[in-house]
Symmetry: C2
Subunit: 163 residues, 2 copies
């Protein structure tokens, strides 16, 4: 992401508004977790977050996905998704098959090897998160989920009002 600032909170000071401080802390946490996951994927699986995200998408659609739908869900440019798919196909992690409903189109799906690899990666991915959040009490997690849920709702409402 072009504006990644790993620990953005150095930008805030006590005199600044609490909304700004909350946002900087949220951004900092999100970037720290993301970078931790990125580093773990690299060192333990020689992989990347976009590759893992793409495999996670395919895992949810075992019947396979068309490239266009995959790109939309990944919210990255079609070019990037195509590049990652080509790479994963070369490594026999995904396969391309003729779409059963439209013989001119192709779907991408995880191969058996890809499925086994994703299973290992997702177990590891979850264990890294458990480790990161280990010091949070059950009640803290609940409060965080509620507070973040409230922010989500506000944003969705604002966006609806703007359209």
């Amino acid at each position: 992401m072009p504006n990644t600032i790993l620990d953005s909170e150095h930008r805030g000071s006590d005199s600044e508004h609490k909304s700004l401080r909350l946002w900087l802390r949220l951004l900092t946490c999100s970037n720290l977790v993301e970078n931790h996951l990125r580093a773990k994927l690299r060192t333990e699986f020689n992989s990347t977050l976009p590759r893992f995200d793409l495999m996670a998408q395919l895992h949810r659609y075992p019947e396979g996905m068309r490239m266009g739908d995959l790109s939309k869900l990944m919210m990255v440019s079609g070019g990037n998704v195509t590049g990652i798919c080509n790479q994963l196909e070369k490594e026999q992690v995904v396969v391309r098959e003729v779409c059963s409903g439209d013989r001119r189109a192709f779907v991408v799906k995880l191969s058996k090897k890809g499925q086994r690899l994703f299973d290992k990666m997702s177990v590891a991915h979850e264990s890294w998160l458990v480790e990161l959040f280990a010091e949070l009490q059950e009640s803290d997690t609940g409060k965080l989920m509620d507070g973040l849920g409230q922010i989500k709702k506000s944003i969705h409402r604002l966006e609806r009002e703007a359209n």
Copy 2:
């Protein structure tokens, strides 16, 4: 950012672990807020988040910053920072001056025009955040700050232990 998934929570289900659900909610919120700010900067200032971040950095160093230091703080490639600086210089938002301590080096600083523009942008930026978080009670904000602070501490501790 390569793994942007605007609302990542559709990936999680109830059967998945609470750590994973917390992370997906955190990522979703952070992406939603970031994209909201991005859209506001575009429509209200015809600007971008990397430009705003760069101006915010320069605002904190009124004596100016060397390109290398600016790049490090922005955590983006030197090329990107250079590109943004060139653009902002063309628009007379930043100026390049010979570094007083080292006559072979240059520092970048906000121009008077840039300072006035940043003042307007940062007031607006804060007001967008206040609007986004308006429905949070004071106590919710406190709990979020505490919970996120706890996550930050855990990550920093894990990273220290790994080194």
